[in-house]
């Protein structure tokens, strides 16, 4: 540590050997020189101000300053200066020390540069970076979280699982456990729900965080939004499924019906019995109608999943559907509040089919009621009527695409439309007392609109 003394005018009156070694200047050269002159010009003013403060406040001051050694290299010095006063309070000089802190300063600068580099990387990368503690609580999240509607400070200290789509939470928790328990790296694909209730598919790569003793202290993770990729994959899968089904309908179902049609034509041509011929002609007409339905179905089915799902207000959809049945002597009771569901744009067709089926097959039907129930699985939307109901043995069959004659395409189509966004449908009414269709809308795919049916932007997510 270098020691120096200054007289009341700031001229150097003493330096020790360490001071000489640090500065590279001998006392002979320094003696009588103003202390600040040995510093680079741009450091002088700051240092003079610091020393002035020490006199004013009668206390020791500390400061760091750059120093250019006579060999031309730059060093960092740490100085402490104490003002000395005579008994009446006049300054009689200073005594101080200097320490070479170049090495520490270099590390600090490198660290700062490195931090800036990584911060810039974290803030500008297309992936979301995060770290969690062993309990799965966020300890860091990169600013990309803003694009999901959350502020960094909203998320830090919250549990990671809070952002995950309810149906995927179990699997995500299991994967986090795997990492904490020592699996080197775990990659998983799951859904997260943003602040506005929209669902995003993400791919996450998680690695273990350990302390200096190798003890797990949490998880580091990278989250990449793969919603577009997933949508493309789903679209390809759906397109393949549709192609197979349409192929089946055209090449199997219609050919089957044509087989029956040819047979009935031959039978009608060969019979001499007028009554029998009349029955056969009616059957031929029915078969032609079936082919017409099959072709109509292919057109409607082709539309399923073509357009991206959207949030739809149930009341608005129902209003549009019920108009079609205004001439029917049926009472409609709607108890739906301002509920919105995330579904294929063909949702209207779903409700049309449910009402059409109820009227067609309900026989004694006078009323149809739509209402909802909330459970931990999601929102159950119920369509209930007071008709004859569905026999127990056909409760599942009614959703199948008919083999052969293909009656009941409507409910098959209904199930397919709903499945696009993971909504399931089942019939669980009591035969003889009426049909009861229950649509289960998973959490994350339904929400209440706060400002009423037209206030689409302000809504409460349901995850």
């Amino acid at each position: 540590m270098g020691v120096f003394r200054l007289d009341p005018s700031g001229q150097i009156t003493y330096i020790n050997e360490s001071f000489r070694k640090i500065t590279g200047i001998t006392f002979e050269i320094l003696q009588g020189k103003y202390w600040a002159d040995i510093l680079p010009k741009e450091e002088r003013e700051r240092m003079i101000m610091a020393i002035a403060a020490s006199v004013r406040e009668h206390k020791m001051v500390e400061a760091e300053a750059r120093y250019i050694h006579p060999d031309g290299k730059q060093y960092w010095l740490f100085g402490q200066v104490v003002p000395l006063f005579d008994p009446v309070g006049h300054i009689k000089g200073w005594v101080g020390t200097i320490t070479d802190i170049t090495q520490r300063k270099t590390i600090e600068v490198e660290l700062q540069e490195s931090e800036e580099k990584f911060r810039s990387l974290a803030e500008n990368t297309a992936a979301l970076l995060f770290s969690l503690d062993v309990n799965g609580v966020f300890t860091y999240v990169s600013p990309l979280i803003n694009s999901y509607g959350y502020l960094v400070e909203d998320v830090v200290s919250r549990h990671f699982i809070d952002l995950v789509y309810p149906d995927d939470r179990k699997e995500v928790q299991a994967n986090l456990r795997k990492v904490i328990e020592g699996e080197r790296e775990v990659t998983s694909v799951f859904r997260i729900v943003d602040k506005w209730g929209y669902i995003h598919w993400v791919e996450s790569i998680s690695t273990i965080r350990v302390d200096v003793f190798g003890k797990p202290v949490g998880v580091y993770g990278v989250l990449r939004d793969v919603t577009d990729r997933r949508r493309t994959e789903d679209a390809i899968q759906l397109a393949n499924k549709k192609l197979n089904l349409l192929n089946n309908i055209t090449r199997h179902d219609i050919i089957n019906t044509i087989t029956g049609l040819f047979g009935c034509v031959d039978m009608a041509a060969s019979t001499q019995n007028k009554e029998e011929r009349s029955v056969l002609l009616a059957e031929i007409k029915d078969l032609i109608r079936i082919i017409q339905h099959q072709i109509t179905f292919t057109r409607e089915y082709q539309e399923v999943g073509v357009h991206a799902p959207v949030w739809q207000n149930l009341k608005d959809v129902m209003d549009r559907v019920i108009v079609n049945f205004s001439k029917q002597d049926i009472r409609f009771d709607l108890d739906l509040e301002d509920t919105e569901i995330y579904a294929d744009p063909l949702l209207e067709k779903v409700f049309y089919n449910l009402i059409d089926n109820a009227i067609r097959y309900g026989e004694t039907i006078t009323a149809i009621r739509f209402y909802y129930q909330i459970s931990d699985k999601g929102l159950a939307l119920i369509c209930e009527d007071d008709g004859v109901g569905v026999p127990t043995e056909t409760k599942e069959q009614i959703f199948e695409r008919g083999i052969g004659r293909n009656t009941g395409m409507g409910l098959f189509l209904t199930r397919e439309i709903l499945l696009i966004t993971g909504i399931t449908i089942r019939e669980n009414g009591t035969y003889g007392k009426g049909a009861r269709f229950e649509l289960l809308i998973p959490n994350g795919a339904w929400r209440f609109s706060v400002t009423g049916s037209r206030g689409k932007n302000i809504s409460r997510p349901t995850n």
């Binding site: 199997h252 050919i255 089957n256 087989t259 029956g260 040819f262 047979g263 083999i403 052969g404």
Partner: protein
Amino acid sequence: MVNMAKGSILLVEDDDIIAKVAQWRLNNLGYEVVGRATSGAEAMELVVKQKPDLVLMDINIKGDIDGIETARMIKKGFNIPVVYVTSHTDGPTLERAKGTNPDGFIVKPFDDNDLRVAIELALNK
């Protein structure tokens, strides 16, 4: 006068109209339809009970076992000729059907002549 039937046939077909048409055509051709099954299990029961000379088998039928699996069991257990009736003219279904060494194929839509030729060939194999 009692007409002697050319042979007894079990019809495995789950579509009512096609079954009705097939039965009418078979009767016209001089065959006796000894029963109609709509599923694999029903077909096996009728084979045991009626011991038909030939089984006319639709590939897509009701139940857990399709026409191909039912045909495999009938041929293995009873050595009765099986003629498939199908609308599939290519693809994996047909390949799977071929694996059971069937005695004939009738492709829908069929007429009297298609039925006659396929059945006669199968019975005279």
